[in-house]
Each structure stands twice: as structure tokens, then as C-alpha cells.
Symmetry: C2
Subunit: 222 residues, 2 copies
Amino acid sequence: MGEKRMNTRPLKSKHIPRATIRRLATYVQVLESLQLEGVEVISSNPLAEACDVNGSQVRKDLAYFGEFGIRGVGYQVKPLISSIKEALGVDREWRMALVGVGNLGTALLNHTEFRARGFNIMAIFDCNPFKIGKIVCGLEVYCTKYMKSMAEELGLEMGIITTPPERAQRAAQHLVDAGITSILNFSSARIKVPDHVQVEYVDFFHQLYTVAFNASQNRMGR
Amino acid sequence: MGEKRMNTRPLKSKHIPRATIRRLATYVQVLESLQLEGVEVISSNPLAEACDVNGSQVRKDLAYFGEFGIRGVGYQVKPLISSIKEALGVDREWRMALVGVGNLGTALLNHTEFRARGFNIMAIFDCNPFKIGKIVCGLEVYCTKYMKSMAEELGLEMGIITTPPERAQRAAQHLVDAGITSILNFSSARIKVPDHVQVEYVDFFHQLYTVAFNASQNRMGR
């Protein structure tokens, strides 16, 4: 039962399954809440419970990082957060552009956790002349035609699309033309981009369908 | 190579894995776009490509429904949509409450696809006295204390939380007290609910972390 030291060496493999990345993101969130509550050490079972997964899954996921924690005691919260963040590449600042300054775009700009987690929205764009020039959450809304020059000037690396679906493809094209190769698409439209550009979709209809499916099953089971 | 008829019998098993539900939701979305473009029949490979999964995965997923499609020709788009929706329990109307009428709540209320997909937000709530009584997207904002009576009156079945994180637990409690057993939580806070209540989290930090992770890997690979 000897003490086992933290080991923060990088990932064994860069091929972390997508579902694991998803859970790692959840662990970070839950661990950060625990840290705020003053928790310093946590064992895998309560961590698993807080994250809605089972304990063996937590231990398996964290095994991607080599060995964590002190055997028989638990994981040290602070270094575990740092190591997961390092592995996920979110231990640094990401400089972001947002396209589409409607309600959803404004909601994201107001989201305090964005900047707190290093996702720094530095430039916001719209094609609506009534919006261009307005100040939203401290940032001036620019016409999309300035995206390329601003991306170079500000070193923008990541783009967020919050346009209506019918404008999403054009927004993506502007981002790609501006040299941005990572896109998070909140619109419900599927977009086409060159192979070197990665797109992630934030589509809550998946969750809505999951809720509906489970509710239907419960109803049938009654 | 004889014709094989559509079979819209219900699911073989109600234990559809969560990842499958997620993909089924994507198939429905893509198939609905194809239908709007006038496509009547599609084979699994182009469907897979449009959905960003591989062909064998599509065929495997659709096998949950028994046999679909006409062998050697493809899937008939319209009945396939209906059958997936029926299986997911989204071939009907869901009567919903929304709690938290800020930018995000308003963005969802403006989202035309909600109602188009049968998710009908019928009552909206806030605890901010400056918001209560206002009309947002045609609905009056009610104080949360009326949630229970309105849930009974309107037959509300599903709740959406779009409050700031620090108010999410209270919003959840109001929904649970009002007899609502299915909750979609857009706030970043984890919430505690009784066992008979199901919660799905819409947390785009998963996707943001995935984008950041992939971008970091690409950078290292250069």
C-alpha cells in the first residue's frame, strides 16, 4: 500500500476516443466545482457518481494519463485537473472569433465560463448592417469582410458559428478563408469545409431526442 | 435481388445505446434535409457520408429497427424518417416549460426547429421581477411560483433550464415540484434530482474541448 506519486507525463496515445474526451471534459468540470468547495482529494467512486458514470469507467479513463492519484487514498484534485487540461490542450488560451451576433451569440458572449476556461472570444462578426458597429459585451460587431485581416492581426485560431442555419455555410467559408481551421458550429445546418478544417457540432436536438426517447420508454413501461 | 418491403415494426429492444440515439437523431436531421431537396431514396454510403459516420455503422444502427429499405436500391427517405422518429418517441408533440428567459432562453424560443420537430414550448418562467409579465416570442413570462398550476393546466411534460448556473438547481426543483420528470439542462451546473426524474445536459464545453484537443494534436503533428 505504498504511496504512488502523481505522474503528469503526457498521454500514452493521441488517439483518445471521442467519448473519453467527452467524459474527461465532464471530470474537469466536476473537479473544478469540488475544488471551489475546498475538496483536495477524491476517490474514483464519488467522482464517478458526481459525473454520472461508473467507478471502473473513471479509473479506465484516467488510465489514459498513465498513473494518477495515491493508491488507497484517491486522486489529488488540483494536479488531476491540471493534467487532464494539459492532455486536452485546454491549459492555454484559445483566441476565438464568433460569427452571428443574435440571441445565441450574445448568450455565449455573456457566458462567464468561456474566458475562465481560456476560450477568449476576441472578435465578433455579423453580416447585418444594423448590427455592424454596435458594441456587444464590450466588443464591436464587425462586417465579415474584415475577418481575414482581423484573424491575422489578433491571431484568431478558432471560430464559433451562431448564425441562423441558412447563413452557416457562408460563415464557415469566411472562417476558412481567414485561415481558421477549428470551428464550433451551433447552427443546426451541416456545413462543408476542406479536409484540413475540423468542425464540431453543438446540436442539442440529440439531447432533446434522448430525453424524449427515455420519457417514451418510461411511459410505455408504466 | 427481390424487393424487400419496408418494415416499420417497433424496436427489437428498448435498450438502444446512447451513442446510437445520438446518431439516429443525426440521421433524422440529414434525411429531413434530403427530403426537402426532393431526394426519395438514398443508399447507406451517401447517407453515412452526409452524417460523418461510416457506411457499416449506418447499416448497423438501422438494423435496430428490423429491416429497412429495398436491397440494392437504398432506403426510402420518408418512411425511414417516420420509423426513426417513432422509435425515438419524437413522432408526437411534447409540451414543454422553459425556465430562465435570458439571451439563451430567448434564442431557444426563436429557434424555429423546436416547434417544427414537435417540441412545443408552451410556458416560460423567470424569477426576475423585471422580466415577469413581459411577452417574449408571443409568450408571457410567468413567476416560477405558478409553474405547478400551469404544468397541470397545460399538461407540461418536459422542462428546459436556461438559467445562470447558480439558479439551475432551484429551477430544477420547481420543475420537479410541478411534476415534470424530463429535464434538459442548458446551464453549466450539475443538478440533483430524484431518481424518477431524468436530466440531459447540453454542455458545449465537451465540443469546445474536443476542438481544442484536436487542434493541439494537429499543431504537435506539424
